[in-house]
Assembly symmetry: D2
């Protein structure tokens, strides 16, 4: 940590600052420049972060030199984390594709889509049983019945299953059925929920929120990991910007940036990222080229009667074509898919 | 609802669209212009919103003519909602001030601050017992002990008490102690939690998220109200913009905009809005001038040793001076404080 | 300046860094902490800023300790700058109101509006002769004829006149007619134009761009001042955020923040800030309460046939009512208007 | 155009609206729904857009059904525009790479870099002679001397040359030396400059501003084209979002979105997009995979002593490696590079 003092700090104020640092057990290196004094602090970073030093008179600001996350950092683990899920391994050389409908609507729908995406090469099936909807009057998901359908899809197709959990009270139930626990974008700073899935024994898939910085996303991963669950995947799914041409702004630079900061696998969801099926395929190719470890893509056999997100869902045949394209790009950069 | 068709829609596609609308029980008015056809739809707006009409071939877009919220709308209730809380009434001519520390730290701290803010004219005491912290290693709040301290502050000072609830499992507990249930900015789209506080019999205070639109904030209020709890207050506390000079960008225009759309009271939290005590007083004055029904302000007797948010907390004497300023502005616009 | 080195910097890299700093004539204070080394640099800040030090291997980042602007800073001039314009003084205790139509449309229109706003207490008349329009097919302004009309308004009403200049080639012409040269939001980083008005002998009014940070706005002022023109006013007119409920998001916290950083007067334009006349009056009151030195407000006698910005223009009678409100708020905070 | 009326519009207000529309020569189709009336308007869209209809009492809002740009639209020209530049053709099957330093610093520097990028397969040389710098104290470019150096690079290497023009007064001069006129991000809504390059006989390269929507970018192209110059290229170079991890947020979805709306070629500048050389190569690959027609990349032989943008410049050898990667990705999607 570095503490930058104000040019006009008084001697009395400086004494108060130094006494406070001493009481925190910090070793201080003082560099007195021509215009101002800067203190380099050796001590417990976490303690210093919480110590409200910027509220002291004469202090201009505190500059962190360490990342606020530890377990999620590449300093904690140099090699990349790999997470086995069904017959796939997330985080390895092979790019993993997770596909399926936005909502679990019925057995028939899920079986049809599940078989189609498995045939095209996906290894994980996605589908929402608990749906976070902006309106209380929209379809809220089939709940436990949806979870049962997902388990049946796994039995029939061999696909692993990922589904969202929204409530701390549902974590145990969802764990009974799902292979991966998804935390939605709107719950990415629901710390109670992060603590709860951190205690679960299933991999956790964290969707970056519309307003979540890279650092905040890693802190949310840290919450899960600090509870003992180190099987965490991060997902870029579009952030909110000033431009409303598309539903969101897909931030693909998050892929190499995150891979530089953390050992955790990074997935991209182009469906939510663009919100319009016409742009899913080019952004899926781009995500692979940027180095994503996986893709999450919405697929529906009858988008125009879907319960949700019809506009951004690919038809099964378009999904298969997109898979073929992505496979070529993966090969071009030395990976498989 | 208005459905704008693409200029190149085929007759076959148009038949599919009209069949679909008929199956939804919609009465259609067709306006065929020179370049394109527009359909005006009379039917269940909620059904139309969910019907994925934009996924149909030949459809360009759906334009909503009604607000997606009903109970929160001024169409539902013309007169402004007033919410009695302790000896205050939120939503009336008198501007209500809620003040106190970010976190409940100890009995002594809360008693000192509570007495100071009561003396200065606040009528509600704020303090967090459950704290949503970005880092799992930061102070997470005193929990139930904090709630007990809050109740004691109420007993000693006569102030009503507002505190945050973060977990569906804690709602019943917090209801035992608090007069107002606060939903934090990061949980504003935690729909499970909104449903749960919607079933509670205590007023709910919704903090707008850092990237929540005005319409989304009202939809979150709708969740609470649809569960039977119509005692909802809305709070602007700063949004996230590109400019990082301050912690957030306080969107004061939300005050008149919300008052035009909803009958619910609108509160402003300048402390989080600016994140720096030096700018709290001018923004508090501005909030009153803009017509806010209340203010939430962080006050701490020793900001430099606070457990959280020290930098943005006012000292009690500065809070008292700010109250005097706000009172003059309130009077200038025909209100009291 | 502070240079934070990477924890893994090698001795060879450190030698390169220190040689480079020596060649720049910098005096270095080295603070070697337990985990990393930090260098405090005494030298020409401008030189260091441009020296691409972050491109050196082993360097993590450069942290500036001085503001990048000098002449615009309160360190350069402690007392507030006051700018006499016609019979008004911008930056004094009296809040100055500039009002008028978006575009100069005709003599009759300008005379009518000019007389109305003068009667209501405005002291500066605004009106665009050169109009920056998003579409090349929209009305682009009357040009020189518009300037002549503005001069006639000044003659008839005694109001000073402010108008926009968009092209380096027009600066001399606009100077012949206007009392204040306005730089529009879209030209706030048109550095050629800033240099040119910096050489003019008329006060300059800088409108913050939709995505201009506080620091960038001050750097644009610095451009003008570095050319010898220190008569600069800054104007907050709404920034662009994710929320599209209104045309822009009026950032009123810019008022106290700028007043803390610079000696230049700060004006607020609520008309562009909200883009809807219904919200202009409350935000005008709020701007005064926040401490703005002036207001710029669009007024039109027939908004529904205006050439531009009709929706956000106040009718003269509503402007007069708004003036009365603002006057009361000004008095409540110890100013006049 | 569609005009949505308010549910509470009075008969008198409706008469005023219809009279106004009649005076504008509009043919009106009225659809009277159960709750509200909607008018579909056939008439001059440009006229309707400017007619301030939203300022009429009883009108809720105007919904555009046509794009505000004409010449830039795919409705104007179905086939993709190709622009021959030196030995390259921008907009064809071959992805064009433009590379070089941020600033023209010296003959030696430009010759070294020019030869290196030509060898690696670039066909256009970039380099700034006029530099838009945030600070008036930073290096502002070599001006005409820089232009002469660029012409010499073309002579020696056969590369075409692109450089920025910042001032209407410099357009003729820059045209004498450059093959492509670049308009920088900060001047993207400098309409005087757009008009001036629209009259020039050289292709124009428009960099999307940090705050420019897709639609606004196309309107800027429209300005150039409306002046008679249809040789326009569009460049995505990163927008400004809430996340400050990188210099900008590269919006790659702009590539397929723009290609759906316009016939003009779309280029990506990953160097400014990320602002850090370590992330340029993955984003360059991603841009090719997304379908970009060209790339603009900053290359410098000694980034640590560059006059500007050292941190984001690739060394020549890293640029060559990145070219090899991009070439493979181009081939994977059926293009060359």
């Amino acid at each position: 940590m570095i503490l930058i003092l104000r040019p006009d700090i008084t001697d009395d104020q400086l004494v108060v600052v130094e006494d406070r640092l001493e009481s925190l057990g910090v070793h201080v290196h003082r560099a007195r420049g021509a215009e101002r004094t800067v203190l380099t602090l050796d001590g417990d970073e976490e303690l210093l972060r919480s110590a409200q030093l910027e509220a002291l008179s004469g202090v201009e600001r505190l500059v962190a030199t360490q990342k606020p996350y530890k377990l999620a950092s590449r300093d904690y683990r140099e090699e990349r984390t790999t997470i086995p899920v069904g017959r796939a391994v997330v985080g390895g050389r092979r790019v993993v594709v997770m596909a399926g409908p936005c909502s679990v609507e019925s057995r028939a729908q899920c079986f049809t889509i599940g078989e189609a995406v498995a045939r095209a090469g996906a290894t994980v099936f996605r589908g929402g049983a608990f749906k976070p909807r902006t309106s209380p009057y929209s379809f809220q998901g089939l709940g436990q019945e949806g979870l049962e359908i997902l388990a049946e899809v796994r039995d029939r197709t061999g696909l692993a299953v990922i589904t969202e959990v929204m409530d701390t009270r549902d974590v145990a139930l969802v764990c009974e059925y799902a292979d991966i626990l998804q935390i939605g974008a709107r719950n990415i700073q629901n710390f109670s929920l992060l603590n709860e899935v951190g205690k679960a024994r299933k991999p956790v898939f964290l969707k970056r929120g519309m307003m979540t910085t890279i650092s905040e996303l890693l802190m949310s991963a840290e919450y899960v990991m600090a509870n003992g669950n180190e099987q965490v995947m991060l997902c870029e799914r579009g952030i909110r910007s000033f431009d409303t041409t598309l539903r969101n702004t897909l931030d693909l630079s998050a892929v190499p940036v995150l891979q530089g900061l953390t050992h955790l696998p990074v997935i991209v969801d182009p469906s939510h990222g663009v919100g319009d099926w016409r742009f899913v395929a080019p952004m899926a190719r781009a995500a692979v080229a940027a180095g994503a470890d996986g893709l999450m893509i919405e697929v529906h056999n009858t988008p125009e009667t879907a319960f949700s997100d019809g506009k951004q869902s690919l038809l099964p045949k378009r999904f298969a074509a997109s898979m073929a394209e992505m496979r070529k790009v993966a090969r071009a950069i030395g990976r498989t898919l």
